[in-house]
Symmetry: C2
Subunit: 524 residues, 2 copies
């Protein structure tokens, strides 16, 4: 019933994934009772409409040969995924068989007894395993060991004939990247052009795709906006379509964010590919369920999340994230990156690609961002660092992504017009910053200096780092991005105004304590 | 392609919604280009599998009569929803017709010119409207006014014959609830039994469903767990199924959270019903897209979100929300309630039901919660209040839901073993609390007293209210709920330990400033 399966299965049909066989345990029961209360569609017809091959096993409770035959038939269909409808009885043999009573509760003692008797077990014995079961398990185990040993020999022989391919596959299985790949990450200086960070992301993909052959990805129908496709990429498509082939490393996911997230998880779990997917940051939320599983299952999947704020402009509030960063920053084991320029973007990719057990969401701008003085890949890779230092500073401005450069302009405004010295902290990834030693974090947010965060979305959570917050705890507005930023005062003047209010408010407090100081540390 | 439409349309087919006609603008183009890159399923066959009636209009660009005939044919099908496949050309008439080039960019001047010439307009005129268009609009407008006037007369006449029904419908259209409905909300005293808050929610539904005839809702296949069905409710089902009828006010949504969210929005937008939907709190995230639209569109939809923490026990981390409250607390115009007992639950329902322009998520426990001394509906309806006061308190403990009663036990522990005086604040809804006058909020979180938040999930955002946070910034664990709470030290002792650490850490700071004090207020 869940839409995510509709998205994934429609795409699987389009891609003609002949190696995929799904078994549907059709017991006609959900938690609420009989499926006919809410689910009376013709499922096989639906899968046929997706381009799947479908088979039915009438007696899924007993017909083991029928099941084996169905699997065999499906394996022979090479150009379509297959669905086996296995008609079964939930709680088969129990006194409650065929009812939702057996879904979530343990069987009663009397029921277990009659069930054991029915299937030829001793009803008086508990946790008893017959010798013939042990024997069968040992036999199967030995067979498996023999097959594994056989495969290992074959793979070793393969290594003799095809050393490069063998070593590549062996390396991929460890999750390590090819040696030296990181030399491809671009490094910028302030003399370089202002570029949208989505474009910076595209540049990285173009520079690393050859060095990292396991990199495979695509977009949920926003390729030209997400800039997720490197030059000359081949689409992963059935050759018969004439649109690509199965060597292709670019996937057209369609408008299916949740399905894409689940597919990224599946590919990463398989273990020899490193998947990424693109959409607008605001629509990453559609895949919340899949990303939660990435984090819980410690899966390396990367989201290229462009159009990351009200800076996307005219599309307006339906497309402008407010709560999204807070949502995923609150998710354990999930890195949310929001790079401010080219070096920070390289840092985001470096950490995302080398974190084997953590998913990443890289939030990227639609609008151009200048290359900043003081941004350094190694520093950004710590999740947060001092981008602009001042001796005897009056205030710390902390920010991420497209607002960092406005903070830099606010520093000039504060110095020129108000004789105020402001330092600037860039905090592209909280999850990574929180893992740094406290001493380092305190050097970034030192005691004695009041601080103000600047980020054009929900202020939720910034209180961990700064004394005051400037954000957007309401929905955005539609208009050219500069007008929208101006409307909400995300300008050097608007930031300066709030910096002055912050200094004024905290001036009575002697040696202001940094929020980094806490009675006990519990963030990660 | 989006799964949410698959969920909603499958249910619409099951429910045989003959009044529903969907028009599919099938122009074969998505943002990435031709739909054949990702979407080659047989859509009409899929809709037939859902039980829909389907029609095709071959020339949707020109065949206006064909479109009218198709709509008429669909109106005649009373027991099935209908899908009209309208084969069209995107950017019809433009030089770029039939390509994705016309999706997101304005047409070039030369293209507009030839397009106007092609359709018989003067290519040199801009923003020109012909007199015949004005005439037609005026004619249609007059016809509409006449029809409205006719309907108003009919409705007035209906009021003469069926006064109660007429007044009920008129009232529903305003969004106001029937006078006196709130007298049905239960009030509790500490002598009353400990009850799970999901059960408290069920009690409220049972008490109010007769007083509020527009209340309609259901569950995404968790009826027995969410306790969303009042006694004697009739299921909303096609009469032919024998499972209910169309007077039914209980909806079996199936395992379709996102579809349920979208359906709640649609029903609320229609304006004469007040919809609610149930699922586990953790799975509310599946409907993030729909809830975002509830908030943005100012829609009153209520989520009954049970099993709201690691307190659900054995289902484990896949079912235990960590980031969910932070996610929806960061969403503008969305109330997240987490009542601690019966009175707070009545307050949550009171505010949720009377907030005409705001969705609510009511987070409810699986485990029993005692009725608390000091909990009062009116106070809880402010979003936060002092549940337990102490003179010259050493610390404020702030909490929500199932942890509030543990804080009360921690107060006793702190007094008995450590001679520490702790006050307790219950904060069932941040969104509502943040809207209270600053003076009130400061009385709840006063200057001079260090504070500690206690909530068994992400601590994100609690820094707004308290100096220190005790939460769970990691995934939970599977086990009986008492064991899981103990493992993570959500016990009176565990809270007391952190309260002592908090007091100790803040003792050097004279007259500790409450986090409510801010240089500028920007939370709502």
């Amino acid at each position: 019933m869940e839409g995510v399966s509709a998205e994934a299965c429609s795409l699987a049909g389009h891609l003609q994934l002949g190696n995929l066989i799904a078994v549907w345990d059709d017991n006609h029961i959900t938690i609420d009772g009989d499926t006919n209360q809410a689910f009376t569609e013709d499922v096989l017809k639906r899968y046929e409409s997706y381009g799947w091959h479908v088979v039915t096993v009438e007696d899924g409770d007993n017909d083991l040969e029928g099941i084996a035959a169905a699997i065999k038939a499906c394996q022979e269909v090479k150009d379509k995924p297959s669905l086996i409808k296995l008609k079964t009885t939930i709680g088969y043999g129990s006194l409650q068989e065929g009812t939702h009573g057996v879904h979530g509760s343990p069987l009663k003692a009397a029921d277990i007894k009659q069930l054991k008797a029915k299937f030829g077990f001793n009803p008086e014995e508990s946790f008893a395993v017959a010798q013939e079961v042990y024997d069968l398990c040992h036999k199967v185990s030995a067979e498996g060991a023999a097959k594994e040993s056989e495969w290992n020999k074959l793979f070793a022989k393969y290594g003799e004939e095809y050393k490069a391919e063998h070593d590549d596959l062996a390396r991929r299985q460890t999750g390590d990247l090819p040696e030296g790949w990181e030399k491809n990450l671009p490094v910028y200086t302030p003399a370089d052009d202002a570029v949208a960070s989505r474009k910076l992301s595209e540049i990285v993909l173009n520079k690393i795709y050859q060095a990292i052959p396991e990199l495979i990805g695509g977009s949920a129908d926003l390729t030209g906006s997400n800039l997720t496709r490197w030059k000359g990429a081949i689409d992963f498509q059935p050759p018969s379509t004439g649109l690509g082939d199965y060597t292709g490393r670019y996937i057209r996911f369609g408008v299916r964010e949740h399905g894409m997230g689940a597919i990224l998880n599946g590919m990463a779990a398989y273990g020899t590919v490193l998947p990424y997917g693109g959409t607008f940051l605001n629509f990453v939320s559609y895949a919340a369920g899949a990303i939660r599983l990435s984090a819980l299952s410690q899966i390396r999947a990367i989201w290229v999340a462009t159009h990351d704020s009200i800076g996307l402009g005219e599309d307006g509030p339906t497309h402008q994230p407010i709560e999204t960063l807070a949502h995923f920053r609150a998710l354990p084991n999930c890195m949310v990156w929001r790079p401010a320029d080219g070096n920070e973007n390289s840092a985001a990719y470096y950490v995302a690609l080398t974190s084997k057990h953590t998913p990443s969401i890289i939030a990227l701008s639609r609008q151009n961002l200048p290359q900043l003085e003081g941004s350094i890949i190694d520093k950004a890779a710590k999740g947060g660092y001092v981008l602009h230092e001042e001796e005897n500073a009056d205030i710390t401005l902390a920010s991420t992504g497209s607002e960092v450069c406005i903070c830099i302009d606010a520093v000039k405004e504060l110095a020129a017009k108000h004789n105020i010295k402001a330092r600037v902290v860039s905090l592209p990834c909280w999850e990574v910053f929180d893992a740094q030693p406290k001493e380092y974090r305190l050097s970034v947010f030192p005691d004695g200096i009041p601080s103000l965060s600047v980020e054009v979305m929900s202020t939720m959570g910034w209180e961990r780092y700064t004394h005051e917050q400037f954000g957007l705890n309401r929905f955005g507005a539609s208009g050219p991005y500069k007008d929208v930023y101006k409307k909400f005062e995300f300008t050097p003047e608007g930031i300066a105004k709030r910096a002055i209010a912050t200094i004024d408010f905290w001036k009575d407090v002697p040696n202001v304590r940094s929020p980094i100081n806490r009675a006990f540390q519990q963030l990660i």
